[in-house]
Structures are given as structure tokens and as C-alpha cells.
């Protein structure tokens, strides 16, 4: 019993905790490097693989430093072969780049990109930004996060030790601008200019096709999931495309990213055209309830037969490819 003297025990516990402090101090020398470039390739066993960061020896451009949209200084290598940009795959594919891994819900990645990205490693974001260990073996040379919320609470500190990490405030809000920024980081400005020009051409062409249909008409894009239906505003996704094509917005989402509506609010839904995405069947039970309601059948769009069930995750994605696919769908529905 004497062994468990309070004073002695205090010393033991203090010594234990202090040893952790010392261990932490000893191992943190590298951690302080924060946003410095990725670890240089070693001459040891790992050197047999491709280097983590290519030296821009034969590169057409020099390495450079940029400040990202949340204020971090990021060292961009001269040539970037291996990129990891979860949630920005559309932008990369637009620029002809295949990332080292792709974002996934945990069940599947973005389906509309799988023609190009089939076989690329999937990393699940079902439990938030995965631990940096999920990426470290892929040895990316540049990491890009689409929103600042991905980079919070230690994520940026960890990922920037793997490779330079660029963080957008919100890349999904302005697709063209974000495409240009990513192109600058990767040295693919020409490719971006070409893709953006093609997008604008497609937009103008589609607008012209639908001019007679969209004039003075309101359209709404609805995303349904298991517990609610969301009216999507014109900041992104299908809502953005409808707005770009000249349709006016429902008052329910004006100035909003999205608005979830209850059954009682259905009668306020002022739209001439309704596009509904059932989230690959996830929203079906809730949509069935909505569609069974007399409030639904009384809607002008329903009575005029202007409700369209849209399929595919490009409707709920941002990027030039997603938006062009969405435009094609809209034309097919309204001008079959």
C-alpha cells in the first residue's frame, strides 16, 4: 500500500506526461515546416519509385509561389504530374489530367466521370476528409481542396506535409474561374482557354435553342434525398445551369444556395418547369409522398406536364463537364 503514496504517484504521472512533451518536441522539427514543399526524394529504398516531387529540370516553367484563397503560401512545382484534388475531378478531366485518386461517397465516385476515371483509386469522404495516410502512398506532387471547410482543424497542416496544398475558398461557386486557377497551378492555361471557349459556345448554342421556351419562364431544379427535398438555387449545380440558360428563379430560392421545403410549402412553388433528381433512388420514398399530395397535382407545372425526372450525378455536381451534360439533358427534355 505504501507504494501508492500520493506524492510518489504525482511524480510518476508528471514524469509520464512530461516524457510525452519531450517526445513531441523531438519529433516536431519537421512538422514546423508547415507549407514548405513536399519532402524531397530520398536516396534510400523509396527512391526506386517515382520521386515525390519532380525537379523542374526539363520543365518549360520554373517552380513558383502563390497565395491560395485562404491565405496560405503554396510552393507550386515546375511540373506537376501527380495531382490529388478531391471534389475537383471534373475540372481536372476538363484539363485532360487524371488525378492519383478520386473523391467517393464511400459507395461510389462521381459516375458521370467514370468513362475517363474508371480504375482510378477511390477515396471515401463518407467520414469527412480522410486521414493523410490515405493519400501519402500515392505521392501526389500537388493537393488541391475545393473548399476551406475541407482544410480545417489540422487537415491542412497534415496534407501540406505530403505535398504543397492549395485551398479554394469555394471553387464550386465559380466554375470558370476555378478552372482557370487550377490550369495556372498545373501549367495548362491553353487547355483551359480552349475548354472554357467550348463551354461558352455550347452555352450560347443551347441558350439560342431554348430562347423561345425560357423567355419569361421560371424553372427549378429539385434534389431529393431520403429525408427532404431541396430546391437548388442558382449558385451551383443544375440550378446554376438553368439560370445560365435564361430561366428565372422561383422566389423560394432567390438569394439562397438551397432551400428545403415541407409539404405545406409546395403550393408556393412558383415554377413553369420542374426538374427532379431522385439521387439514384435515395429520394424515391419522399418523392412518392410529395407526388401523392393534392398540393403537388395542383401545381401549374404538374398540370402542364412540365415535370422532368432527371438522372445522373452530373446534375448535382459542379464543373464544365457536368454543366454541359446538364444542358444537353435540358434540351432533350424541352426540345425532344
Amino acid at each position: 500500500m505504501k507504494w501508492f503514496n500520493a506524492k510518489k504517484l504525482s511524480y510518476v504521472v508528471m514524469a509520464g506526461l512530461l516524457s510525452i512533451v519531450l517526445a513531441a518536441c523531438g519529433s516536431n522539427k519537421d512538422a514546423d515546416s508547415g507549407t514548405t514543399p513536399a519532402p524531397s526524394p530520398t536516396s534510400e529504398s523509396g527512391a526506386a519509385e517515382e520521386p515525390a516531387v519532380s525537379e523542374p529540370s526539363s520543365a518549360p516553367r520554373e517552380a513558383f509561389v502563390v497565395t491560395d484563397q485562404v491565405g496560405n503560401t503554396v510552393n507550386i512545382p515546375g511540373t506537376v504530374q501527380k495531382v490529388y484534388a478531391p471534389g475537383l475531378e471534373d475540372y481536372l478531366v476538363t484539363l485532360g489530367v487524371t488525378p492519383v485518386a478520386q473523391w467517393s461517397t464511400g459507395e461510389k465516385p462521381q459516375q458521370y466521370l467514370q468513362d475517363t476515371l474508371g480504375g482510378v483509386k477511390e477515396i471515401s469522404f463518407a467520414n469527412g476528409v480522410p486521414s493523410p495516410e490515405s493519400v501519402v502512398d500515392l505521392e501526389p506532387e500537388l493537393i488541391i481542396f475545393p473548399t476551406s471547410f475541407y482544410a480545417q482543424n489540422g487537415v491542412h497542416e497534415n496534407y501540406s506535409q505530403i505535398a504543397p496544398t492549395y485551398v479554394f475558398k469555394n471553387a464550386l461557386g465559380n466554375v470558370v474561374e476555378a478552372t482557370e486557377t487550377i490550369a495556372e497551378l498545373l501549367g495548362l492555361e491553353d487547355k483551359a482557354a480552349e475548354a472554357i471557349a467550348a463551354y461558352h459556345a455550347k452555352l450560347e448554342e443551347t441558350k439560342a435553342k431554348l430562347a423561345g421556351i425560357s423567355a419569361d419562364k421560371k424553372a427549378i431544379y429539385i434534389n431529393a434525398n431520403a429525408r427532404a427535398i431541396f430546391l437548388v438555387g442558382n449558385f451551383h449545380y443544375g440550378g446554376y445551369v438553368l439560370s445560365e440558360l435564361g430561366f428565372a428563379q422561383s422566389a423560394l430560392v432567390e438569394g439562397e444556395m438551397s432551400a428545403d421545403i415541407s409539404l405545406e410549402m409546395l403550393s408556393d412553388l412558383d415554377a413553369d418547369y420542374i426538374f427532379i433528381n431522385n439521387n439514384d433512388g435515395l429520394g424515391d420514398p419522399f418523392l412518392a409522398d410529395i407526388k401523392a399530395s393534392p398540393l403537388w397535382t395542383a401545381l401549374p407545372a404538374v398540370q402542364a406536364g412540365q415535370v422532368f425526372d432527371v438522372k445522373g450525378d452530373h446534375w448535382r455536381s459542379s464543373g464544365l463537364i457536368a454543366y454541359q451534360k446538364t444542358m444537353a439533358d435540358i434540351v432533350a427534355f424541352l426540345q425532344p
Partner: protein, 329 residues
């Protein structure tokens, strides 16, 4: 079983938990490679994985688990109720709410440093404690233990409801981050999180050991405690503050890992008598439980990780029910 043996066995289990924890992860690092890296012969990638990702994550899991278990032990002692823990009394919810507001307001990663986070959580934790104190304090009898529990349950429910309301105004990406953080995820922890957590334990644990006899006396009725010369009310407030100083920083760095504060003191009380033994035992078992839970969460499902908080609840809830059934008999 002799006391020393109990501690030795617990230490061995925890040591095995540590070894399991640093040898598991999504990055490939075999045991021989791990051994080489420990002795400074690993590649830069292996060193990065071991020293910057796995070891700080493991230490943080240990510190968080220890702190939450100790906070639970303190609250159970002062409320004389085995159901008290920082989660049930709303302290985690208060700390969580202020952390949630902190995460929402901080759009820039270069803003406030990780080590400052506990102070934000403490704001919420102390607001809850102030409310607990005001609502369970009686002019004649001081803090009434059962009223402390009822008040805590009500506050926790109110804050949780408010947090749900708050999630409605979030963008999907914000909502996803908050949801994951609330589930108790330490997958992206680093040394800064360890630095944020460690000082609180270094300060509070020796203080508790110093006052272990007073904690022992707390289990008696107030008149008995007062008759042996312990100013119960003064210490009740003091230990309540200590529990916040342990729980709030833990919530700040790990989100909300429930059940540790409830289950571990229960188990410890069955194994040890007297707070002089219970304090180190809570630290070790609480820490060990979260380390092992986190390691299991890392490997449970292919290509993703399950938050440590979820695994703790999966292990903790059945064990707690088992304890309840057994103690009724």
C-alpha cells in the same frame, strides 16, 4: 489480485494497444519497416507517416480518453451519481457548440492556431457549468447533486437541439465537416493537437492526486463529509471546474467522444478502491480504450475509417449495459 499486478496487466494491455495502433493505418508500413523507421532508418515517407501522423494521433487518442474518463470520474464523485459524465451534464455539448461556432467562423486555415481551440471550447464548457451551478444551487444546501444531473440533462438536450437547428443553415460541405467532427474523429490530428491537450492534463492530474482524499469523502452524505472537516460545496465547485478543464479541451481536439467518461470510471471503481488509485487507472484505461477504438476504426472498413467515437460507443454501450445488469443482481 494484488494492486501492483492489476496496474501491470493494465499497462501491458495498453502497451499492446499502442503497438497495434502504430502498426495500423491506410499507408503501407510493415512491422520491419516500422522498426527501421523507429531507429531512424526509414524513408522520408515512412518517417512522415510514423512520426507526423501515427504517433501524434495515438498520443492524442490516449490523452483525450484519459481526460474524458477523469472528467467522468470527477462528475460521478461530486454528483454521487454513477450516471454522471461530461456528456450527460451537457459540458461536451457546450464545448461542442462553441467549437462548432469557431469552425464556422474560421474560414481561413491560417487563422487561429489549433492550440487555441481548447479556449473556445472552454467558453462553452464554462457557460454550461455556470448554468449548472446557478440552477442546481440552493442557498441552504449548496449544490444539490440530483438537481445537478437533471439540470445537465436539460441543458445537454437544449444545446443538442440548437446544434441541429444550426446545421440547417450550413452549406453541405460545412454540414459534412461538422457532422464528422461531432462523431469524434481524430484521423487528421497532429502534434499541434497534442500540444493543445497536454498542458491541461499536466496541470489538473497532479492537483487531483493531491486532493484524492477529498474525492474519497465526497461519496458520503454532505453532513458526514462536513463532519470530517471537508467544505463539500467549495470542493464540489472546484472539481466541477476541473472536469470542464479536462473535458472541454478534449472536445476541442477530438469532437465528441461519448461513453468514455461514463464507462471507464464504472470499470475502474470495480477494480480499485480510493481515488489515489482510481485517478491513474482512469487515465490509463480511458486513454487505452480510445487508442484501441481508434486503431480498430482505422482498419474496420476497407478504404475508409470509422471515427473513434463511434467505435467507443459500440464497445462501451454493451459493456455498460452488462455492468448495469450485473450490478442489479
Amino acid at each position: 489480485m494484488k494492486l501492483t499486478w492489476k496496474f501491470i496487466i493494465i499497462s501491458i494491455i495498453i502497451l499492446l494497444g499502442f503497438i497495434y495502433s502504430i502498426s495500423t493505418g491506410q499507408s503501407s508500413l510493415s512491422l520491419p519497416e516500422l522498426w527501421q523507421t523507429i531507429w531512424g532508418n526509414g524513408t522520408s515517407r515512412q518517417e512522415l507517416v510514423l512520426f507526423q501522423f501515427r504517433i501524434p494521433r495515438m498520443i492524442l487518442a490516449f490523452l483525450v480518453g484519459g481526460a474524458l474518463a477523469l472528467a467522468g470520474m470527477l462528475l460521478q464523485a461530486i454528483s454521487r451519481n454513477a450516471l454522471a459524465d461530461p456528456g450527460i451534464l451537457g459540458i461536451n455539448a457546450g464545448a461542442g457548440l462553441s467549437m462548432m461556432l469557431f469552425l464556422l467562423l474560421q474560414h481561413s486555415t491560417t487563422g487561429l492556431h489549433t492550440t487555441v481551440q481548447p479556449f473556445y471550447a472552454l467558453i462553452g464548457g464554462f457557460i454550461v457549468v455556470a448554468l449548472l451551478f446557478l440552477l442546481s444551487y440552493d442557498r441552504h444546501h449548496g449544490i444539490i447533486p440530483i438537481r445537478l444531473i437533471y439540470t445537465g440533462v436539460a441543458i445537454a438536450a437544449a444545446i443538442s437541439a440548437f446544434m441541429i437547428v444550426l446545421t440547417y443553415v450550413l452549406e453541405p460541405s460545412q454540414y459534412q465537416m461538422i457532422k464528422v467532427w461531432l462523431a469524434g474523429n481524430i484521423g487528421n490530428s497532429n502534434w499541434n493537437h497534442v500540444y493543445a491537450m497536454l498542458p491541461w492534463l499536466i496541470i489538473i492530474v497532479p492537483l487531483l492526486l493531491h486532493h484524492h482524499r477529498i474525492l474519497d469523502v465526497m461519496k458520503f452524505n454532505d453532513p458526514v463529509a462536513i463532519s470530517v472537516g471537508v467544505p463539500v460545496n467549495k470542493y464540489r465547485i472546484w472539481f466541477l471546474v476541473c472536469s470542464v478543464l479536462l473535458a472541454a479541451p478534449a472536445v476541442a481536439v477530438s469532437g465528441s467522444i461519448g461513453f468514455v467518461g461514463l464507462v471507464v470510471p464504472h470499470l475502474v471503481r470495480r477494480l480499485f478502491r480510493g481515488h489515489i488509485r482510481m485517478i491513474p487507472a482512469c487515465l490509463l484505461i480511458g486513454g487505452g480504450l480510445v487508442v484501441i477504438a481508434d486503431a480498430i476504426g482505422k482498419m474496420a472498413v476497407a478504404n475508409t475509417e470509422i471515427p473513434a467515437g463511434v467505435i467507443v460507443a459500440l464497445i462501451g454501450a454493451p459493456y455498460f449495459l452488462y455492468l448495469l445488469v450485473k450490478s442489479d443482481r
